[in-house]
């Protein structure tokens, strides 16, 4: 009786042990030396695995750096400091690195917009946006269910009074929130003093006026006021060219809808 159970156990365990021993032996005999260069670079990278550099993650970028396929300075999370340490390790030029931050182009808080419907589905912006474009009166505006908040690894995004806000000093420009926003309200801007249009509604002025108290109606006042040729109205929405904008604030003062704000990442 015991043998009927014991022998099969011993046989299977024996085969398993034999296979295990062979594998263990093989892994020692045929060990592949790891690329130490890539390993060291991987240690220098922040390890956010956000993919903002264009590679599959920090491992992919480290590998490309080690083989010389890519240049340092593509990692927005690490910024200039990481680019510097990697270039010091590789012994090459770190190159110019533009500092960017993400910002939300909407001010449609509960005070400024209304809801066209009650949404009671799953609590994500992507889910709400799938139902007739979301519950907010403005079909372009922030839904405020915080997909961007959950996407951010650095606690830089918060939803306040129904509209998302990004803290520029915490933003590492990893682009996770940009990918998460179903309304495409978040974009990168250079981290310098400049005017930012906080609206993406490209409907005609009268239509925008109906859905939001603070939406851009495309009145062209900012374009006429700007002495630097930096702000233009296209598709009933003002757009700032950050390269030309000096941050003088003239358009901010003249905007009747108060949807242009002065941005300063040092604030």
């Amino acid at each position: 009786m015991m043998n009927e159970i014991l022998i099969p156990i011993l046989i299977v365990a024996g085969i398993g042990l034999l296979c295990g021993l062979i594998l263990a032996f093989a892994s020692i005999v045929m060990a592949v030396p790891k690329d130490e260069k890539a390993e060291t670079i991987r240690e220098l990278l922040p390890g956010a695995n956000c993919g903002a550099c264009g590679f599959s993650g920090c491992d992919g970028y480290a590998k490309a750096l080690a083989t010389g396929e890519s240049k340092p300075g593509l990692c927005p999370v690490g910024g200039a400091a990481v680019a510097k340490s990697i270039s010091a390790y590789l012994g090459c030029d770190s190159g110019e690195m533009e500092v960017k931050v993400a910002t939300v182009h909407c001010l449609g808080s509960y005070d400024n917009t209304s809801n066209k419907a009650e949404y009671e589905g799953i609590e994500t912006c992507a889910g709400a946006a799938a139902v007739a474009g979301g519950p907010a009166s403005c079909q372009y505006g922030c839904i405020g269910l915080g997909d961007c908040v959950r996407a951010c690894q650095y606690n830089a995004v918060s939803v306040c009074n129904g509209v998302a806000r990004i803290e520029p000093t915490r933003c590492k420009a990893c682009s996770m929130c940009i990918k998460a926003c179903p309304k495409h309200l978040i974009s990168f801007i250079p981290a310098k003093k400049q005017a930012v249009v906080r609206c993406t509604n490209c409907d005609k002025g009268a239509q925008t006026n109906k859905v939001c108290k603070i939406g851009c109606i495309g009145c062209m006042k900012c374009e006429k006021t700007c002495t630097h040729d930096a702000i233009h109205v296209k598709n009933f929405i003002a757009e700032v060219d950050p390269q030309k904008c000096t941050g003088c604030g003239e358009c901010v003062d003249v905007c009747p809808r108060h949807c242009i704000t002065l941005f300063d990442s040092n604030l």
Binding site: I7, P8, I11, V12, C19, I22, A26, M30, V32
Partner: protein, 202 residues
């Protein structure tokens, strides 16, 4: 002898095709057949694993399990051996043929859980029990033929899927539904080979 081996080989490809006739290994069939080169790579890996695992499991079954009256442990022992084998092949490839290792990527570990491989090793033993002349050599030829049959089905279906990609599919059928319809039609077409090998080679 040669003639019967050829018959076994052709039968494994056409009439006993593991994907289109026995419906084993459907997961890689649907998952990896999107592009021709990955489909080919996967199939070659499967063929190699099929032959080597048959070469390993057949003697163990015949000379270890049967004499000890442990034939009922077949499934669990075979899974154990196949898993270890795939791991071993992966280690060897990583060391000696890194290009092939990188090309196969995730597919190689996935073969561990491929039911077609287990199916081949178990079905050749079933065949051996039904027909005593079906020995070790015949089993290996059958396993190799099954792998080539896998390749044929994958490559054919990769072509079908590339054609589907370029066509205007109704929205309700886009993606997996149309793929499944196409797969079933391909399988039905393979039923047409039934009996062809026996007629050809007497």
């Amino acid at each position: 002898m040669m003639k019967s081996l050829l018959a076994i080989f052709l039968a494994a490809i056409l009439t006993e095709n593991y994907i289109l006739n026995k419906f084993l290994g459907i997961c890689p069939f649907l998952g990896v057949s999107k592009k021709l080169d990955t489909a080919t790579g996967m199939s070659i890996a499967v063929t190699v694993v099929m032959v080597i695992s048959t070469a390993a499991t057949w003697p163990i079954y015949t000379y270890v399990l049967v004499p000890l009256n442990l034939a009922y442990l077949q499934t669990i022992v075979f899974i154990l051996i196949i898993a270890a084998l795939v791991q071993f092949i992966e280690t060897v490839l990583k060391k000696y043929i890194p290009a092939l290792y990188n090309a196969l990527g995730i597919y190689l570990p996935l073969i561990t859980t491929n039911c077609a491989v287990l199916g081949v090793t178990m079905l050749v033993i079933e065949k051996g029990q039904a027909d005593p002349s079906f020995g070790f050599i015949q089993s290996l030829v059958n396993a190799f033929g099954s792998g080539i049959g896998f390749l044929v089905a994958m490559v054919l279906f990769a072509g079908v899927r590339e054609r589907i990609e370029n066509n205007d599919v109704p929205k309700c059928l886009q993606g997996l539904p149309i793929t499944l319809v196409a797969a079933s039609l391909t399988a039905v077409s393979f039923l047409g080979f039934q009996g062809i090998v026996d007629k050809m080679l007497g």
